[in-house]
């Protein structure tokens, strides 16, 4: 039997029983669509997290005071004891490393911000001018903190877009004064709207010079130090240098935790990839269910088409030809169902993108290959038994029954 004839024969069978064909297409389609939709959700979440980390800065090395022992803490949320403070002098010393491009020490606290009679409690961030470049921040109006000696207390601040509207309403905030605690600051810049990134909403903070924040919160200790390595390749060197410099300054104690953005990113990447794979696998169970449906329908078809199978045998069809006819039918159904499923899955993905534009839903390439391949393989596997039964039918018996 020629291949083209085989295809045509199977095609005519599919057209001859439209309800049955549609039912199987539907089952296969749902299975494939589920895999595509679910994996694109997982992949979307992964890309979202990766992008969030990316927006944190590039080639970032983060220094936290305190040594965190490797206990069962979640990666990325490292909380260490603080036997010795991390100071501004420690931070400035890091610039001695050749692998470090720039640093931004951070002090964080919450304080009441007053403008006239209005009061709002906001997170206050103390840092230096380099923070803007390290964190890829953007200023909408005015400018960022001035380049100056970080030990100097300057009465200037930069405020988030939301803070500006809440404190000033429609009035222009730039150049106005605000009061934090007992200190007054002139607003020199307003941040562009960036929304949340890794727990910090830059729309809702007030940024003041580091020394001012230290004075406000009456602390020498830094919350953390952001270090930008000169290039991706230099991240490892920067990390080693940072550890070594701090160790020397802290009398040989390795009492800081240094995390690289890469490492955290890789961990999240791994977790979310595994998650996507797992939910994709769960969705693939529906494909197995579709396979069982195919087997059931094919077994019924063998009974229904006994006479036809007997006739084909009488006309000289070999057992192999009968098997191939059934398997071709199954493959055609699987391909049709997979096509349908990919289309529906894509539609669902587009819908999700419309509803949640922030999350980059997209099916991973392996799911787009694995889902149709699984559909074809399961339907062939589940048709093997019915096809064999058909091929073994005794032609005399098959023909004798009406």
């Amino acid at each position: 039997m020629r291949f083209g004839d085989l295809l045509e024969f199977a095609w005519r069978v599919l057209r001859g029983y439209p309800t049955r064909t549609l039912l199987i297409l539907l089952a296969m389609g749902i299975g494939v669509a589920a895999v595509v939709a679910v994996t694109s959700l997982g992949e979307g979440a992964r890309l979202y997290v990766v992008n969030q980390f990316g927006s944190l800065g590039t080639n970032l090395v983060i220094v936290l005071p305190g040594r965190s022992e490797t206990s069962g803490a979640m990666p990325g949320v490292l909380v260490g004891k603080t036997p010795r403070d991390l100071t501004l002098e420690d931070a400035l010393a890091l610039m001695r490393s050749h692998a470090v491009r720039r640093i931004a020490p951070l002090v964080v606290g919450a304080a009441d911000v007053h403008v006239g009679a209005r009061i709002r409690e906001t997170p206050v961030l103390g840092s230096t001018a380099d923070l803007m470049d390290i964190r890829h921040m953007e200023v909408a109006l005015g400018r960022f903190l001035p380049q100056a000696d970080p030990r100097q207390i300057l009465p200037v601040c930069v405020i988030g877009a939301k803070v500006a509207t809440e404190l000033f309403g429609a009035r222009a905030a730039l150049g106005e004064w605000l009061r934090i605690g007992d200190r007054r600051f002139r607003i020199v810049g307003i941040m562009a709207k960036q929304g949340e990134s890794m727990g910090f909403n830059t729309d809702e903070i007030v940024i003041v010079p580091l020394a001012a924040a230290q004075a406000l919160f009456n602390t020498e200790a830094l919350f953390r130090v952001l270090v930008e390595a000169k290039s991706r390749e230099q991240i490892a060197y920067a990390r080693d240098d940072v550890e070594e410099i701090i160790r020397l300054r802290h009398e040989g104690e390795r009492d800081v935790t240094v995390i690289t953005q890469d490492a955290v990113l890789a961990t999240f990447d791994r977790i979310l990839r595994a998650l996507t794979l797992a939910v994709g696998g769960i969705a693939a169970i529906s494909l197995a269910v579709a396979g069982i449906l195919i087997m059931n329908v094919m077994l019924i078809a063998v009974t229904q088409r006994r006479r036809e199978i007997g006739l084909l045998k009488a006309l000289g069809a070999t057992a192999a030809q009968i098997r191939m006819a059934f398997l071709t039918e199954a493959v055609l159904l699987a391909i049709g169902g997979a096509g349908l499923g990919l289309a529906v899955g894509e539609l669902a993905r587009n819908l999700a993108v419309q509803l949640y534009p922030a999350i980059p839903f997209q099916s991973p390439w392996w799911a787009l290959i694995a889902a149709p391949a699984t559909a074809v393989i399961t339907s062939v596997l589940f048709t093997l038994a019915p096809a064999r039964r058909a091929a073994r039918l005794d032609p005399v018996q098959a023909l004798s029954r009406r």
Partner: protein
């Protein structure tokens, strides 16, 4: 040339053993027109199935065109059926979803014959059996006589050496039955071997050689 020697065929039905064929010896020369008659259960259909290579005898030898076919494998039997046998059934056994033309084409499709060659043979067959106007009709749009003509054309598609007809008129009215017989006899006049199983004496007596079976054995074999 068909040569059957000591053919036995036993079926097991429940606990009982039914000997459908007992020691059947039969020689059929090419071009013969032979009818097998007998009461129902006499084994005439079983004999036809054995000759048509659909069924295997339990004992005895069957020589077809000089070769022993008793020892062939299933695939070899399928190939021999395809090349040498043409079946016509009481209930036509047309594939309902295929048109008349596609039904006639089926044996040639299974044999893997080139589409252009198939088309040529198909046109010839359609003309020969007067089915040109009905070529694209499905079986449910054809009369009984037309269906049986399609079945005969299908049986002839591969140019078989033997045509085996099992009650070909059993499902047709008298007049249409006569027409179908005329078509089968045309095959015989063209030089083909025609084997006919029937319980209708009027149809059976048209054959030149008449074999009578009772209880699985050949009891009479007369020629005219």
């Amino acid at each position: 040339m068909i040569r059957l020697a000591g053919i036995d065929r036993t079926f097991v039905v429940g606990d009982e053993k039914v000997r459908a064929l007992r020691e059947v010896n039969l020689q059929i020369a090419p071009g013969e027109y032979l009818s097998i008659m007998g009461p129902s259960g006499s084994g005439k259909s079983t004999l036809l199935n054995v000759i048509g290579l659909l069924d295997r005898p339990d004992a005895g030898t069957y020589e077809l065109d000089g070769g022993n076919v008793t020892a062939l494998s299933d695939d070899e039997l399928a190939r021999a059926r395809r090349e040498k046998m043409g079946f016509v059934f009481q209930f036509f056994h047309l594939v309902p979803r295929l048109t008349a033309e596609q039904n006639i084409e089926l044996p040639m499709v299974l044999a893997g014959i080139d589409p252009a060659e198939r088309r040529q043979r198909l046109d010839r067959l359609l003309a020969e059996y007067g089915l040109e106007a009905r070529a694209r009709h499905r079986p449910d749009q054809l009369s009984g006589g037309q269906c049986q003509r399609v079945a005969i054309a299908r049986a002839m598609a591969m140019g078989p050496s033997v045509i085996l007809a099992d009650e070909p008129t059993g499902n047709l009215d008298r007049h249409t039955g006569q027409e179908v017989m005329a078509v089968l006899e045309r095959v015989h006049h063209g030089g083909g071997t025609v084997l006919l199983v029937t319980h209708d004496p009027e149809i059976g007596s048209r054959a030149h050689r008449r074999v009578r079976m009772v209880d699985g054995a050949v009891v009479a074999d007369e020629r005219s």
